[in-house]
Amino acid sequence: MEHEHAYTLMMDTLDGELVAEQQRALEVHLRACPSCAREWQAILAIDRLFRQTPALAPAAGFTQRTLARLPNHKYRVWTISSLYVALLLVGALPMLVGFWAYNQFGPVLSEPGLWLNLWQTAGEAIQVAVTVVSALLIGAGEFIVQEPSVLGWLLVLAGIVSLWGGMFRQLIVQPRQMSGSA
């Protein structure tokens, strides 16, 4: 008999599925093969140990502790229903507003010159914004060139703000963290 077949028969023995003929074959093999016999004795010992070890129970009061953690069924149903209604409204509202706007402004929106005019207006607005921002930047640059001390004052101001920020964290935030961990 092959060793692997012997192992299969050993497992069948543990599961109580061995027929008499197979049992005899395994007995013969175990008498002739010391390594399989040793392994069978070890497997039997583990099997016996596991079968004799009782199941463990939780500490007293387990049911009450678990029941206290169960979610409220009615509240859950109400919450989920509300969520569904809210999601439905979130989807339906923009659609309704769209329909209303289309009915109100449909004829105006379908005029051929409208989109061209809108595009031109947007372009002009962007041009104005770019002009204003560039004028501001140029102006600020020229001012700093004429009055370089302004830059120094700005650096001093940033230092003071940073210092006060550090002191604020030390005095206000840190004591609260310490009292929270205590």
Partner: protein
């Protein structure tokens, strides 16, 4: 018992927590035992067992009465424990923490102090052996030995085939035998009788 169980299940489906409490009373031991054998920590086992019951309560509408309720509960518990073990690995937490004393063992007044110590040592030996197995082997061993599930039930629970389960148990038993003997488990004199319970 089965008729009572069906009544409790029906009432629990309607949101009756007292009826669900009776189901917890009936199944707390197998559920906790499975969690403890898998996780090897009494605090985590209690947490996992509670979580399994909470999941069962919120999913009662998915329970099919053609399965045993106990098998369904054990399936939820073992899947939850396997997820926990995977998360532990992902977090690289050590699973070698010392085994905390189990309250059920410590409060067993019927047994004398010597018997209690022996039983405690036996439990520790079993736990240390189980921890040597990879989680899916451990799961199969625990379900087979303590919950006496058939190969078909274990395969169904672990979403695999009967032959895969037989193979896992076969390898697990050989591995346990090798480690057990190396750790002082005395080999049993040769016999072909099934080990006495």
């Amino acid at each position: 018992m089965l008729n009572e169980e069906q009544t409790w299940l029906e009432q629990a489906r309607q949101g009756d927590k007292i009826a669900f409490g009776k189901l917890i009373e009936a199944y707390q031991r197998p559920v906790y035992n499975l969690a403890y054998r898998m996780l090897n920590n009494s605090g985590e086992a209690e947490e996992a067992a509670q979580e399994a019951f909470i999941r069962a309560y919120t999913r009662l509408h998915t329970y099919k009465p053609n399965h045993k309720f106990s098998t369904w509960m054990l399936s939820i518990t073992s899947n939850y424990c396997i997820d926990l073990i995977r998360k532990r690995r992902a977090l690289l937490l050590s699973i070698d923490e010392p085994l905390p004393p189990h309250p059920a063992l410590m409060s067993d007044k019927q047994k004398g102090p010597e018997a209690q110590i022996m039983l405690s040592e036996q439990q520790e030996m079993v736990q240390s052996l189980l921890q040597e197995l990879q989680p899916d082997y451990r799961q199969a061993v625990v379900l087979r030995y303590w919950h006496e599930l058939s190969y078909e039930e274990i395969a169904d629970m672990m979403d695999t085939t009967v032959s895969a389960i037989k193979s896992r148990l076969f390898r697990a038993r050989r591995q346990l035998a090798e480690i057990g003997v190396a750790n002082g488990v005395s080999p049993v004199p040769m016999t072909l009788e099934r080990a006495a319970v």
